[in-house]
């Protein structure tokens, strides 16, 4: 949250459109849209696999990575990506080898990376603000490189989702059934977890490490309230997340508050509205005897 004096623009009373002359605003919009799409889609996986805390575990892995990056003088984003990839790829095998549920495995990984992060912070000299900034993040300060990375991960997720739509649906529906039908369920699950890890890392700077968990769960949960169709759920979840990110961005431009917090408030509001309007509560009407 650098002190970008957006307030100045507003004070001058110039047209709202003037903000679009600033390059950082375009970057922030790109980050919002790409971040919304990626978080919306992986959120559907997170909800249907019933592993909400994967977001928290991943953002702390990214945090631990950033801390170590700063310690050894390597780009924190690169270190976060490496930490997150390893952590995400470990979840599946730890669950399978240890004979525990994916959630337990996420808990184990989470405790481990948290330990690493604290160790790293302990080893740091001087103020630790740079590391802690990682947990906050602001959509207004997203760099060009991050946008490029976000573009790549968005494309990757969309391509894999289209190519392996059926297999992913089967794994989300029931892992044992998917397995019994001869689908390489392990590989699919590991790839989904891996994509979750990368997505969280790449969106941390814009949304914030603690808040991304909320976006990943509230957008798909909102979609979950109002549809029984998986394709619609993907679409709505991504749409809700994009709306949350964009409105969070614009509000934070005009009133100087953290964008991440606003994104989460908007997405929670969307969830609340969908929850109240949910047709799933009166399903006898929608799917009565035919």
């Amino acid at each position: 949250m650098q002190g970008i004096s957006i307030l100045g623009i507003q004070a001058e009373g110039t047209a709202m459109f003037e903000i679009f002359t600033y390059e950082f605003v375009w970057r922030a919009m790109a980050a919002s849209i790409l971040g919304g799409i990626t978080c919306g889609i992986i959120g559907v996986w997170v909800i249907l696999l019933n592993i909400p805390f994967v977001g928290i575990a991943m953002s702390h892995s990214a945090f631990a990575g950033a801390v170590f990056g700063l310690l050894i003088g390597v780009n924190p984003l690169v270190c976060s990506l490496i930490f997150c990839s390893i952590a995400a790829l470990a979840i599946g095998p730890v669950a399978d080898r240890g004979g525990v549920s994916v959630n337990i495995s996420i808990g184990i990984i989470f405790s481990f990376v948290l330990g690493l992060a604290f160790l790293g912070i302990g080893l740091m000299k001087g103020p630790r603000t740079e590391a802690l900034n990682f947990l906050w993040g602001s959509i207004l300060t997203v760099s060009y490189n991050q946008i490029v990375l976000l573009c790549i991960i968005t494309l990757l997720i969309l391509i894999l989702l289209i190519l392996f739509y059926r297999e992913i649906m089967a794994v989300l529906f029931n892992r044992d059934i998917a397995k019994a039908s001869g689908i390489p369920e392990h590989i699919i699950l590991y790839v989904l977890l891996f994509l979750c890890g990368i997505t969280v890392t790449l969106n941390i700077n814009s949304i914030g490490g603690l808040l991304i968990f909320s976006l990943i769960t509230s957008a798909p949960l909102a979609a979950y309230q109002i549809t029984y169709d998986l394709k619609t759920m993907y679409f709505l979840s991504a749409l809700f997340a994009v709306i949350s990110c964009l409105s969070g961005l614009f509000v934070s431009i005009f009133i100087n508050v953290p964008s991440g917090a606003l994104i989460i408030l908007v997405s929670s509001m969307i969830f609340a509205i969908c929850f109240v309007l949910s047709p799933k509560k009166k399903r006898t009407k929608a799917y009565g005897p035919s």
Partner: protein, 272 residues
């Protein structure tokens, strides 16, 4: 006839609990094997050993002449239909009945394979055979327990496998549906010459065409043989540790649990 499934000295344990003790059994192609035994005998575990869902501690499992290994297990599974005993489905799951049945074909089509009209047709036929066509667009989470069971059966049929593992396919079903499903299983057995392994607690559901009965207890196969020899009063009473009565009416065996001649009806007595 050739051995389709060959299980040798297989043990399975869940941490310190041994679910299967050194089991060996061969199943030939085209057999209809009924597996019976008390709760916790290891029947479900035996089925999961065959399709590789369960992990074995020791021993070997060969299906279709191949040893089940991580690299070829999916090839084997594509050729085995599985109707699990129970399945938890989230009531709000965004998957329709038809999609849930289609999953049976996903493994066969393979990664990057194309979903064709013939796949669609096979799914529709399976829905039709089991009698749930009218539910096909319904969210699968909205089904009753029995309807779920039918979805599982339809999924296995859509897969067009060579072996089908049925784990208590008639539990949760109403009397008519039980009868329909048993008839359906008999029919697909006689029509397609599938190899069928059928776990049940309802002895009268063991069809005429059943070729072998396997008796399991405490993780062991205690006996096996043809249906006539195995479904016998003394053997069954021993198996269940409970007096069982077998009577023959119109050439068909009927089974009763409990002391048949205690005078009053009900309380522990009943058709099994």
């Amino acid at each position: 006839m050739s051995k389709l499934i060959s299980i040798k000295n297989v043990s399975v344990s869940f941490r310190d609990h041994i679910a299967l003790h050194n089991i060996s059994i061969d199943i030939r192609k085209g057999a209809f094997v009924s597996v019976i035994g008390p709760n916790g005998a290891g029947k479900t575990t035996l089925l999961t050993v065959i399709n590789g869902l369960g992990r074995i501690l020791s021993g070997t499992v060969e299906v279709f002449g191949r040893k089940a290994r991580p690299l070829n297990i999916n090839k084997i599974r594509k050729r085995i239909g599985y109707v699990p005993q129970q399945m938890a489905v989230d009531p709000r799951s965004p998957v329709s009945v038809k999609e849930a049945v289609s999953i049976g074909r996903f493994g066969i089509i393979g990664l990057l394979g194309k979903w064709t009209d013939s796949d669609e047709q096979k799914v529709e036929n399976a829905l039709d055979k089991v009698g749930i066509s009218r539910l096909s667009e319904k969210p699968v989470g909205h089904l009753s327990g029995g309807e779920h069971q039918k979805v599982s059966i339809a999924r296995a049929l859509a897969q067009e496998p060579e072996i089908i593992l049925f784990d208590e396919p008639t539990s949760n079903l109403d009397p008519k549906a039980q009868n329909d499903i048993i008839k359906l299983i008999e029919r697909i057995y006689s029509e397609k010459k599938y190899t069928i392994i059928f776990v049940t607690h309802i002895l009268s559901h063991i069809p005429h065409s059943c070729t072998d009965v396997v008796l399991m207890k405490k993780g062991r196969i205690v006996k096996s043989g043809n249906a006539d020899d195995m479904l016998e009063q003394k053997i069954l009473s021993e198996l269940y540790d409970f007096p069982m009565q077998v009577s023959i009416v119109h050439g068909k065996k009927h089974f009763h649990a409990g002391h048949f001649h205690t005078g009053h009806s009900g309380r522990g007595d009943g058709n099994v």
